[in-house]
């Protein structure tokens, strides 16, 4: 019994030290370099490293040197078994607002070690609410939108497909 407790304490200390000493900032920089290869750049962001998470604030998103969007906060957290990123106030750049009539208030991405190829998405904004998945294996995004009476949702409909399940956005990447 005493041995089992000792092992448990040992594992707990190991887990906490991994979480505490994990070079989060450097791993984020590595992710940034990989995103840069896809021509996606997160710029001008303020980085705060927490004990279990990393917080980016007031950043800009560029794609192929184009100013695409701004965000207020991105909170990336990991428990080693699950990863999550919560994005708040993700606003498309002024020049894109006619094309992408979507202002995202909150976007939550979660990935679990059990189903590593699937990333769950929940989002809400001026268009209402939506949820869906990113299938990393099939390289596919599927979002289910709840019908909303807002103007933004009406504008968004041209990018969506109407099915029995409701309005769906599908994209292969």
């Amino acid at each position: 019994m005493q041995l089992a407790i000792k092992i448990l304490i040992g594992l707990l200390i190991f887990y906490l030290s991994v979480m505490f000493f994990l070079p989060k900032k450097e791993l984020y920089f590595l992710a940034e370099k990989q995103l840069e290869e896809q021509k996606l750049i997160i710029s001008d962001e303020k980085i705060d490293e927490g004990i279990f998470d990393i917080k980016l604030s007031e950043g800009k998103l560029f794609f192929e040197d184009m100013d695409v969007a701004t965000f207020e906060n991105i909170n990336i957290a990991t428990t080693l078994f699950t990863n999550s990123a919560e994005i708040t106030n993700f606003i498309p750049a002024q020049s894109l607002q006619d094309i992408i009539p979507v202002g995202i208030k909150t976007l939550l991405l979660t990935q679990s070690i059990i189903n590593f190829d699937m990333v769950d998405i929940e989002l809400s904004g001026n268009f209402g609410e939506a949820e869906g998945v990113v299938d990393l294996e099939k390289r596919e995004i599927k979002l289910f939108f709840k019908t909303d009476k807002s103007k933004s949702f009406t504008k968004l409909k041209k990018y969506l497909k109407k099915t029995k399940e409701g309005w769906i956005y599908e994209k292969k990447f």
Partner: protein, 276 residues
């Protein structure tokens, strides 16, 4: 008994401490292999505008203009330069630009910009002054009989292997209604329905935009664009990335002239429209 418990407890604490230290050491080592700095968007140098006013009139229909005051060239020892070819120039109070050819490279530069190490410092009616290493070089426009009035007739079209010869009639720019341009600017999905273009990749870079699909009888088709064409330049500016294409789309309402340079097969074709 107590001593033994104490020593066991201390041993256990030491074990826990060593776990923490090992983890710390592993991450310290791995940190050395990870990037220490993030990526930031580099501010690109000033972009050449798509929307300069480029009046293309042939001599027959050219409106009679008052004589322009010709600036006197600077009293300096000016050397003529032969390795470049001056294809076109534009000189107004707002915009001064020149199109220069060197080997197969053609570039349109604004006053103050540098081409092949030569800075464009002045533009006159029939020539430009370039400066390199504090020396001034004069580059005259290639023309026939009338040196002082360069017209579109004088503009030499870039060649790859063969070039389509355009006569005076073809130089007469056709007209396109501004309301059509405004319509497309405000209805991007209509653009997507009528034409599909993709960057024409050459290695990591692209040398234009390939037309993958074009709707027959659409305005783009009427412009003279065909499936398989590679759109190389618009209004003298190369289309090398989505950014260039998007920048042009964003500034569509500011153009007075639409000059599209297209690679069709092995030929470069120029399409010119005046926006009215």
């Amino acid at each position: 008994m107590k001593k033994s418990f104490k020593s066991k407890f201390i041993n256990f604490l030491l074990l826990l401490l060593s776990i923490v230290l090992i983890v710390k050491f592993i991450f310290f080592i791995s940190k050395q292999f990870l990037p220490a700095e993030g990526v930031s968007q580099k501010i690109s140098s000033e972009q050449k505008p798509f929307f300069y006013t480029f009046k293309a009139t042939n001599k027959k229909n050219a409106p009679v203009k008052k004589k322009l005051k010709i600036k006197k060239p600077p009293k300096k020892n000016i050397i003529s330069i032969k390795k470049f070819e001056l294809i076109a120039l534009y000189n107004s109070t707002d915009v001064k630009l020149a199109t220069i050819k060197y080997n197969k490279k053609i570039d349109t530069i604004l006053a103050g910009e540098v081409f092949e190490g030569y800075k464009l410092i002045s533009i006159f009616q029939a020539y430009i002054i370039l400066n390199k290493n504090k020396k001034d070089y004069k580059l005259e426009i290639k023309s026939g009989k009338d040196d002082k009035k360069p017209s579109y007739k004088d503009v030499k079209k870039p060649k790859i292997k063969k070039s389509i010869k355009l006569d005076d009639e073809e130089f007469e720019p056709k007209k396109i209604e501004r309301k059509k341009i405004d319509y497309y600017k405000n209805n991007l999905e209509k653009v997507w329905k009528d034409i599909t273009i993709m960057p024409n990749k050459k290695g990591k870079n692209s040398d234009g935009f390939k037309v993958l699909k074009i709707k027959k009888d659409s305005d783009f088709h009427k412009l003279g664009i065909q499936k398989g064409d590679i759109i190389k330049e618009i209004n003298g500016r190369e289309l090398k990335s989505n950014k260039d294409a998007f920048y042009f789309f964003k500034n569509l309402d500011k153009i007075d002239m639409l000059q599209i340079s297209i690679l069709r097969g092995e030929e470069i074709k120029e399409i010119e429209y005046e926006v009215r």
